[in-house]
């Protein structure tokens, strides 16, 4: 059974003559436990797909099914226990005045956990940060450490589908390797399903089993990673993208 099924998804911003169609007729399925990539250049609509799933982009049509449940206009609280998201820029995704402890504590509180203290400790260990980071503020953390906190926050409600919006594009390559390894380990340990957006084909090639190539709001091709590695894209745009990223 599929974790995420998207069919005929349109997402737009603005109305009347200002309307911009960011995503048009997107269709793909992500199986349970699979890691699926969305690649494309800026403005191709790949991040918008994630925002539509989480409800951050409110104007959409089509169907989105999470674990067999169709999504409606509003997201119930239980939705956020199943689906969580890691944002692109770790410098922008943490509240500048909240310490790591506050960020994780509040998240756990909102999801109705009672053993908050123990869980904060556990989460920090899980993402490889440890206790000494618990009471630090974002400005006392490096980019990689911030992204680990953001991952810990996304893991707090124990979701099954994790949406990753360019989780390493703002980081140095050596830190990128650490974060990608962490994400791979977490997926293996917890049986998570990933939907990962990236402009970097080699990152997607490393992390994902299958991927969709987006251009101008449309999915032009869905291929598996072996075809990607063999440089065998059938659509001219994906072929062009492959050649440009070598």
């Amino acid at each position: 059974m599929s974790m995420l099924q998207i069919n005929g998804l349109n997402v737009w911003f603005g109305k009347n003559q200002n309307r911009v169609d960011a995503v048009r007729q997107a269709k793909f399925t992500v199986a349970k436990g699979e890691s699926f990539g969305l690649v494309g250049e800026s403005g191709s609509g790949k991040s918008t797909v994630l925002r539509a799933i989480t409800g951050l982009a409110p104007n959409w049509s089509g169907t989105m099914d999470i674990d067999g449940q169709s999504l409606t206009r509003t997201r119930p609280k239980s939705f956020f226990k199943t689906v969580q998201m890691v944002f692109q820029d770790p410098y922008a995704s943490l509240h500048p005045r909240h310490s790591v402890d506050q960020v994780l504590g509040e998240t756990l509180y909102l999801h109705g956990f009672s053993d908050i203290d123990a869980r904060v400790v556990k989460l920090l260990d899980d993402v490889g940060l440890g206790q000494k980071f618990r009471f630090r503020y974002p400005h006392q953390l490096s980019g990689g450490q911030r992204q680990r906190v953001a991952i810990a926050r996304a893991l707090a409600p124990e979701p099954r589908l994790l949406l990753l919006d360019e989780p390493t594009s703002a980081l140095d390559v050596s830190v990128q390797a650490e974060i990608l390894n962490l994400l791979a380990d977490l997926r293996a340990d917890r049986g998570l399903t990933y939907l990962m957006v990236s402009h970097d084909l080699s990152v997607v090639g490393h992390m994902c089993d299958r991927l969709a190539v987006m251009n101008n709001g449309e999915i032009v091709e869905i291929l598996d990673v072996d075809a990607l590695r063999a440089m065998k894209a059938s659509h001219p745009y994906s072929q062009h993208l492959l050649e440009a990223s070598l």
Binding site: T54, G55, L56, R75, K77, F80, Q84, M85, F87, Q88, D89, A92, S93, L94, H95, P96, R97, H98, S99, D101, E106, T107, L110, H111, K132, F133, F135, R136, Y137, Q140, A150, R153, A156, P157
Partner: protein, 303 residues
């Protein structure tokens, strides 16, 4: 000194060990950068002095501020027992200044409590909710902004009756719109940031987002703005006092004192000048403090 050294290190650590430790450390670092700003420190010292004078007024005032001595009226500066001279009823000006500090602080405290909080509420709600709520709230703000401040305050005082509390209320009612504007502008930028999206994805409602996530970021720029505005508020209160609509005689409010001294300003200049200088000093102190606070509190300036 070993003890203080470790305390300093404890406070400056990059690895706090508890919630309290992290809070104290953040406060201490803010204090350090504030302390390095000489002008702001001067402002702070003046205001602390003012606070001390206000609290200890009965102890340090050489005379009863209300005791009249018509035989010794309009005594010049440096007269024996009256350093700042006496006013038209022979009351000691220094003592009146000292007691007047209480009134000044009272006004400042009340306005600082009412106006920014009203502005913060209006601004953040308008900014976060948007749509019709935003339009309605901001048009109300525009209406208040369209009136000259003192004229509007005059109208309020005229309607509510003269007196210090009503003056404060009137000033507060005219002072909040700029705060609402600032809070709204800040909210608009904060609202679309990733960390607000992130907390929305944890299922947080608007009330929690506004109070726990948006307020802490708006408050610092409001504090800065309030301290910078304090000078204007003191002047407005003095202005109302001067026009006879604020504090009523024989209350030693500084503006009212200038108003009384006005009649003799050519022959006995000190009667109006000394309270004028007091207003000037305190206003300046608030401005200096505000500038210093902006350096440490405004997250945009420090980045």
């Amino acid at each position: 000194m070993a003890d203080t050294q470790t305390l300093r290190q404890w406070l400056l650590t990059e690895t706090p060990t508890s919630r309290r430790h992290a809070k104290l450390s953040a406060i201490y670092q803010g204090w350090l950068s504030f302390r390095s700003n000489t002008m702001a420190m001067i402002g702070l010292v003046i205001l602390l002095l003012l606070l001390f004078v206000a609290i200890a007024a009965p102890l340090i005032a050489p005379h009863d501020p209300f005791a009249q001595d018509l035989g010794n009226r309009l005594a010049p500066l440096g007269t024996d027992g009256h350093i700042f001279g006496t006013d038209s009823l022979g009351r000691d000006i220094l003592s009146r200044l000292i007691y007047g500090a209480r009134i000044t602080l009272y006004i400042v405290a009340l306005v600082a409590l009412i106006a920014p909080i009203a502005g913060l509420l209006m601004g953040t709600i308008a900014g976060y909710v948007g749509g019709w709520t935003d339009t309605v709230l901001m048009r109300i703000t525009d209406i208040f902004l369209a009136f000259p401040r003192l004229v509007l305050a005059l109208a309020f005082v005229a309607a509510l009756g003269a007196g210090i509390e009503n003056a404060v209320l009137a000033i507060s009612l005219t002072a909040w719109p700029p705060y609402a504007r600032i809070a709204r502008a800040e909210t608009l930028t904060i609202r679309s940031s990733d960390y607000i999206s992130a907390i929305k994805l944890q299922g947080a409602g608007p009330l929690r987002i506004i109070t726990k996530h948006i307020w802490p970021l708006c408050i610092s720029s409001l504090i800065v703005r309030v301290t910078l505005d304090m000078a204007g508020i003191i002047l407005a209160a003095a202005g109302l006092g001067f026009l006879g609509l604020g504090a009523q005689p024989p209350s030693p409010e500084w503006g009212a004192m200038i108003s009384e001294g006005r009649r003799f300003i050519l022959d006995h200049w000190w009667v109006a000048t000394v309270p004028g200088l007091a207003i000037f000093t305190v206003s300046l102190a608030f401005n200096l403090l505000g500038d210093g606070l902006r350096d440490i509190l405004d997250p945009k300036a420090s980045e």
